[in-house]
């Protein structure tokens, strides 16, 4: 089995690679921007960090938009952090940035209040639906996050998990063969590795 991690130059994909190699030692793991390798892979991981505008620009420069949309529709697909936000239509970031519009909704900034931004650290994740990727992970387990924006989905059916930081926000979405999380499973110790194991074993 081949797992492709999409590397378009945004953020620390090396951590994602190391964690996936750790949970799936017998699989081929590719860190790649090669459309053919991504198309041929059995599973695709779509990470991303930094600003959404810069991520979209990098995806366009690497000519990966079509490849990602295709993968998101046809095989087990895991978005992480910006890899969740980019699935949506539009972000407030950088004065307004268009996303991939694979899911309907917007990416918005946390309201300004006494809470520190970015939302950084270990927060609890409430399961909104049962899902194979929550297997062996207790409800309200803590995962590591770092972000200033969050997704506001148009279709509540896609919500798989939520977190509270001043407000309740969607931290995980699921639709068909697609699952995406705002937090970093690759940095969330046992529960994070369990989620990645579940992804590697996921039979859609």
């Amino acid at each position: 089995m081949a797992i492709a991690i999409i590397d378009y130059g945004m953020g620390n994909v090396r951590s994602v690679q190391k964690a996936i190699e750790h949970v799936a030692p017998n699989e081929q793991v590719f860190l790649t921007d090669n459309a053919k390798i991504i198309n041929d892979a059995d599973r695709v991981v779509f990470p991303g960090q930094g600003a959404m505008g810069a991520c979209m620009q990098a995806l366009n420069e690497h000519d990966l938009v079509g490849t990602i949309k295709q993968a998101a529709h046809e095989k087990p697909f895991l978005g992480i952090c910006l890899g969740l936000q980019l699935l949506f239509d539009h972000s407030q970031e950088n004065g307004g940035t268009e996303g991939l519009s694979i899911l309907a909704g917007d990416v918005v900034h946390f309201p300004k209040n006494e809470l520190k931004i970015p939302h950084m650290g270990w927060n609890t994740v409430k399961h909104i639906i049962d899902h194979p990727l929550w297997h062996n992970i207790e409800d309200n387990s803590r995962f590591y996050s770092v972000h200033s924006y969050y997704v506001e989905e148009s279709d509540s059916d896609v919500v798989a998990g939520s977190t509270n930081y001043g407000i309740d926000f969607t931290c995980a979405v699921a639709k068909d063969n697609m699952f995406a999380v705002q937090f970093h499973p690759e940095k969330s110790q046992h529960d994070g590795l369990q989620l990645l194991t579940n992804f590697a074993n996921w039979q859609v």
Binding site: R14, S15, W122, T124, R142, K187
Partner: protein, 257 residues
């Protein structure tokens, strides 16, 4: 249930070994960094910070290899600081498996650096490390010092923290060390922690001075810190991370189990 306060053990690293100086001078050996990091991970540390005090280029390569080995075995956030001056230094550490990079003196010599790095790598992985020393008690004032506390810059620490974290491309976190308290084990400079924490919008890690478990809670409850960093109380086996968390939990602070 909400965001947990973090406990961050800090490893000072020189030529690939963990060391811990007392007030930045007297160096004691505290072990193999990979083993130390694994042990902290197993004990439930929320992140690990490495401060590279290596002087030579060869030693720096050793540190990169060390980060690589740790990142293969430890799946919690890793921050590396010390000697980060250019984009290339950040890239090398991120490629080795670091999640965040702390920039200290270089930001003082090149004030546009933080903006440049945040724009390139994202604010989430750029930490501004501030070494502050008290220069007046009433009203309390702190200034930035460099070169292990020897060089005075004349820059006000609180103003500096705000400047380095504001705007779209500021640092995403502050690592705040009191040079007066570091290694002395009498607790954080709480007035400093509170002043900086209240002034900036981003999370603040309190550092310098932890000698007992109660100091950790004070940093959060009185200093307003989002995370607390300590070295020697963990290295020399005085306390485990679990004991530290249990103590904080008893004081009503939300921590990760």
């Amino acid at each position: 249930m909400s965001l947990a306060k973090r406990i961050i053990p800090c490893l000072d690293v020189r030529d690939g070994r963990v060391v811990k100086g007392v007030q930045f001078v007297d160096i004691k050996d505290a072990g193999d960094p990979v083993e130390v990091a694994k042990s902290y991970d197993e004990q439930g540390a929320d992140e690990i910070t490495f401060l590279d005090i290596t002087a030579s280029h060869e030693g720096r390569d050793t540190t990169i290899h060390m980060v690589e080995s740790i990142a293969e075995q430890v799946f919690i956030p890793l921050t590396v600081g010390g000697g980060i001056r250019r984009s290339e230094d950040v890239r090398a550490m991120l490629n080795a498996g670091a999640d965040k990079v702390a920039v200290n003196s270089a930001a003082i010599h090149n004030p546009g650096l933080i903006n440049k790095l945040s724009e390139k790598f994202g604010t989430q992985c750029i930490v501004i490390a501030i070494d502050a020393k008290r220069v007046s008690d009433s009203p309390p004032k702190w200034e930035i010092f460099t070169h292990g506390g020897r060089n005075k810059t004349g820059i006000d620490a609180v103003e500096w923290a705000v400047k380095m974290t504001e705007g779209e491309h500021g640092a995403g976190e502050v690592l705040l060390t009191s040079m007066d308290c570091d290694g002395v084990k009498t607790g954080f400079d709480l007035a400093l922690t509170k002043a900086v924490s209240a002034a900036v919008d981003v999370p603040v890690i309190a550092s310098g001075g932890v000698g007992g478990l109660e100091h950790l809670s004070e940093g959060v409850l009185e200093g307003g810190a989002d995370a607390v960093l300590a070295a020697s109380i963990f290295h020399f086996g005085e306390y485990t991370i679990a004991e530290a968390k249990s103590s904080m939990r008893q004081n009503g602070i939300e921590v990760r189990d």
